[in-house]
Symmetry: C2
Subunit: 144 residues, 2 copies
DNA sequence: TATAAATAGGATAAATTTGTCCGAAATAAA
DNA sequence: TTTATTTCGGACAAATTTATCCTATTTATA
């Protein structure tokens, strides 16, 4: 569904959020351990999240990655997915046609429409807050 | 959503079905032209569809690919997707966790569940017949 | 100011997916 | 039986994604 990079990005953002609630900045090393991902690759993905204003970074000693506590609730899954994979998952054609639309649909256009709309809606209405709180409460997990 | 190979496979199967209704066998060359795909790569994908009993092939002169007219209605999209991409799209974990289930869910487990179930249901209930008939009637298109 | 710690970012490598090429095997027709 | 045609299948190549490594830059603290 999503690229590996996007999976790591989502998990990283959730972990950073949980730590930011406690006023802690985290390093790519900690993040990679916590979400079971390759460290250097994760660091690259974090750069993309910083550029797209999903997380913020502080360079130098005592630096690290964090998310403004007051913004966690307003950050949606769609922002993270967009930052890394773009919007082709829920906007592109299911069969890869370049110009697929209502007037010129691919064979599965209508069939996919509902599913993609649901997916889009879900991504746009799922906040980092609820995902992070579920992790903190032990209801869900970032690895294994 | 699907791999390029899977997109080509779905379109190829639809085209073969339309031609099989008219008793015509088709070559990878014709298929590739009709669905706008790389010919040799398409031929490889056709082999996978043959192995998984989605289409049948006839070797030698006057050979080609075809689908038994009486089976077109009973072949579902899910068979094609399974033959090429496997079932990870609607069975694997949305965040790539190896052992994600109800008891040990990833943060998006429940959010994805409905969407993936819908996707699975759609793929299992969409027949090659309806897709091929829509192409024949000009309601949908395989390229551009 | 010097030092240590941390992210940024470019270069590179490995793995996977996508795509090509060519000879072997099969088959219909002359 | 020979020939032309066609799929099969293995080897190879290109492109993309995933992953690593190293240096530059930034910054808090001593």
């Amino acid at each position: 569904m999503f690229s590996k990079a996007c999976e790591y990005g989502i998990k990283a953002a959730i972990f950073i959020a949980t730590q930011s609630y406690e006023g802690k900045r985290v390093s790519p090393k900690e993040i990679a351990q916590e979400i079971d991902s390759p460290q250097a690759f994760t660091a690259k993905i974090l750069q993309a999240l910083v550029k797209n204003d999903v997380v913020s970074s502080v360079k130098g000693a005592y630096g690290g990655f964090e998310i403004d506590r007051n913004q966690i609730a307003s950050i949606k899954l769609s922002q993270i997915v967009n930052a890394i994979d773009g919007d082709t998952i829920y906007n592109g054609c299911g069969l890869g046609l370049h110009a697929c639309d209502e007037a010129h649909p691919c064979p599965v256009h209508d069939k996919f429409k509902a599913i993609r709309t649901d997916l889009k809606h879900m991504l746009e209405n799922t906040s980092l807050e609820e995902l992070a709180l579920n992790i903190k409460s032990g209801e869900s997990f970032l690895k294994i």
